[in-house]
Amino acid sequence: MKLKSRLYAVWLPRLILYVFAIWCLFPLYWIFLTSLKTPVQALSRPPMFWFEPTLDNFAKVIQNPDIWSYFLSSTIVAGGSSLLGLLIGAPTAYILARYKFRGRGDFGFWLLSTRMTPPVAMLIPFFVMFSWLGLMDTHIGLILAHVMLNLSIVVWLLRGFFAELPVEIEEASALDGDTYFQTFWRITLPLAMPGLISVGILIFLLSWNEFLFALVLGDSAVRTVPIGLYSFIGYQTIAWAELSASATLLIIPIIIFILIFQRHLIRGLTMGAYR
């Protein structure tokens, strides 16, 4: 009996978790394998699992200065848009969480609706707007566009986190004579920091991988990773090996980034335990 219940309680869930991990990893593993193959090996029949690996693709990619500029551009844009998104979104979320005012529901819904428009309808107006404002092909321009795209997620998720925080601490600080803003800044934000970080990570990832606006609003000065990798999709051939090598290289910083912050993810996610 004990063994059977242990099977269901521990081993079966663990098995499922590991299977899911394999499912998540397999395409990435395939990308990594492809990056070690020559062009001919990449298209072999049957597909090769064991072969003489070559580091040529990585060498080629590392020596290409473009890859580093894609990385830099993406880092600036993703980092900038997650910071700016938090900066603008947190106050908004706080108000929505704590204060009732007329039209609060409508305001929240309007914010949500900004994510609903299909991009194709926004491309030309954005192009025209940004050209007129001189924001074309600038990092700040793309940052603004990404903040626009993702602000609804920032606000709605943070709203949830703020709502979970105990009101008593804030009320105590107000009684101490702090202004509303001081309460927010000195008390609420630090308490919510882990939640802020987890939302920040999400937005960073969403911005890092955004393609359409980066395409339309960027040009020669601003080429982010998705745009850069698309250059491997050539006219007649896809440079599988270089594409895979670049993708592999570029995911390493992301993995590191997630590893560093995933501590906070857990803390952020256990915030409610403050009750």
């Binding site: 001919v40 298209l43 029949r45 192009f127 025209v128 040009d219 698309y230 250059s231 007649q236 051939t237």
Partner: protein, 453 residues
């Protein structure tokens, strides 16, 4: 490639080009000498090359053999004219999505651009008319340029219904048959010459390990339409008739599409309904298909041992014939033009005519580019890069093509709305969802409504 004396890539290129143009180089000639020889070939033209000294130009291009091969010619242009050129390359998807937006908003850059939908670009007013520059003696030297050296189709393609030229042809490719000699030998067959033989051969060579034939048929206006076009034309059909109506539902067109679909249904690989040029090239290069039918430009990659395991076994031929009707392989010439909003149009014209001139084409064909000039195609350097047998087959197909009926469809202002339903119909026939007549009748109705509206 090792040589007895050190030569860098550029000088090899120049040497090849020089040889192309009949200038003999002695091994004692250094890089500087061959370089000077090349420059002289340009300087011999009665053109004021330095009229725009100090100017800058932006070239917008796709990741394409043309863009790759002109890269090495650009420094020579800069030296000749003093104009600095920036070449930007994007993937086809990016380029096709971005250009309408940029040009639609009146952007002045790029100055020179590849044009993937000529009818569209001209109707929208994005391409600058070029005749004014052709007629300018300080910009253009007709005798030196030698238009007759160009393929007839390359000369025909840019001319619009109003008689004006809004672009220049920069590459020439034709629908070509490729086959794996080993598979042919194993089945005891020769390269098929008629459509019926073609079908029989494809079916005969189809095994569990290898498809008989591989061609594009993804449900898209850019996939199956071009290769299938050759079939439609060769069966005597047309896409758009002289009155501007779609006639894909004619008996001839239906027969052509039906044969295309049968080849794929009965001898094509599993999942051929999703095949674009990438899959066609990949499958043939990895030996997964005995035959293929697509652009002559594939030859460069198919015959490259670094990219293809069938490099040594590939042979090329003409499109098979349908009964006794004339073969009309489909043809294509990439176009490049000048942005109508560009402020440097004359300088841009200098660049375009530089690249398309005899020495210019010699330079890029030495890189393996299928240029638009007979002289370049016949050069030893090109034949070696491209493959002599492939070049012969491609030339034959190039000459069999009919530019008039091609242009009526592909260079129509609403070309996208013609090709898209047709591409979907081809896909439906190739995957067995519909028969050719039903699919084409529906497509024709849709197209005519879009055109008439």
């Amino acid at each position: 490639m090792t040589l007895a004396y050190t030569m860098n890539r550029r000088s090899i290129l120049l040497g090849a080009a020089a040889t192309t143009l009949g200038v003999s180089l002695s091994p004692r000639m250094g890089w500087a000498d061959s370089h000077a020889a090349i420059l002289d070939m340009f300087k011999s033209a009665d053109i004021d090359w330095r009229a725009f000294d100090g100017e800058t130009l932006v070239v917008g291009a796709m990741q394409h053999p043309w863009a790759d091969s002109i890269e090495s010619a650009l420094p020579i242009f800069e030296e000749l004219t003093g104009i600095k050129v920036t070449l930007t390359k994007q993937s086809e998807t990016e380029y096709v999505a971005e250009m309408p937006i940029k040009l639609g908003a009146g952007s002045a850059e790029p100055d020179v651009m590849m044009i993937h939908a000529l009818g569209q670009f001209v109707a929208a007013g994005w391409a600058a008319p070029l005749d004014q520059f052709y007629e300018d003696p300080s910009l253009f030297d007709a005798a030196w340029y030698d238009n007759d050296d160009m393929f007839a189709m390359a000369r025909d393609f840019p001319t619009q219904p109003d008689g004006e030229n809004y672009s220049m042809s920069i590459t020439a490719e034709a629908q070509t048959l490729f086959a794996n000699q080993k598979s042919l030998d194993a089945a005891g067959l020769d390269l098929p010459k008629t459509m019926d033989d073609f079908l029989a051969a494809a079916i005969a060579m189809k095994t569990d390990m290898q498809a008989g034939i591989v061609m594009r048929s993804k449900s898209d206006g850019t996939a199956g339409t071009w290769p299938c076009g050759g079939f439609v034309f060769s069966y005597g059909g047309e896409v758009i008739d002289a009155d501007g109506a779609c006639v894909l539902n004619s008996d001839e067109a239906v027969a052509g599409v039906d044969m295309y679909g049968r080849l794929l249904k009965e001898a094509g690989p599993l999942g051929v309904g999703n095949y674009h040029w990438v899959e066609v090239l990949n499958d043939f290069s990895s030996g997964a298909a005995a035959m293929g039918c697509d652009s002559s430009n594939f030859a460069t990659d198919i015959s490259d041992p670094a990219k293809s395991i069938v490099a040594a076994d590939a042979i090329y031929g003409a499109l098979p014939q349908a009964g006794s009707k004339p073969i009309k392989a489909n043809i294509w010439a990439w176009q490049a033009g000048i942005n109508a909003n560009s402020t440097k149009q004359k300088a841009a014209f200098l660049l375009l005519s530089f690249l398309n001139s005899k020495p210019g084409c010699a330079l890029s064909s030495a890189n393996g580019l299928a240029t638009v000039r007979n002289s370049a195609w016949k050069s030893a350097a090109f034949q070696e890069r491209f493959g002599a047998q492939a070049a012969t087959a491609a030339l034959a197909n190039l000459n069999s093509g009919d530019a008039v009926i091609f242009k009526r469809a592909w260079f129509h202002p609403k070309a996208a709305e013609i090709l898209d339903p047709w591409g979907i119909a081809i896909n439906e026939v190739a995957t067995g969802q519909k028969d050719a007549r039903t699919a084409l009748t529906e497509a024709t109705d849709k197209i005519n409504r879009a055109l008439g509206a």
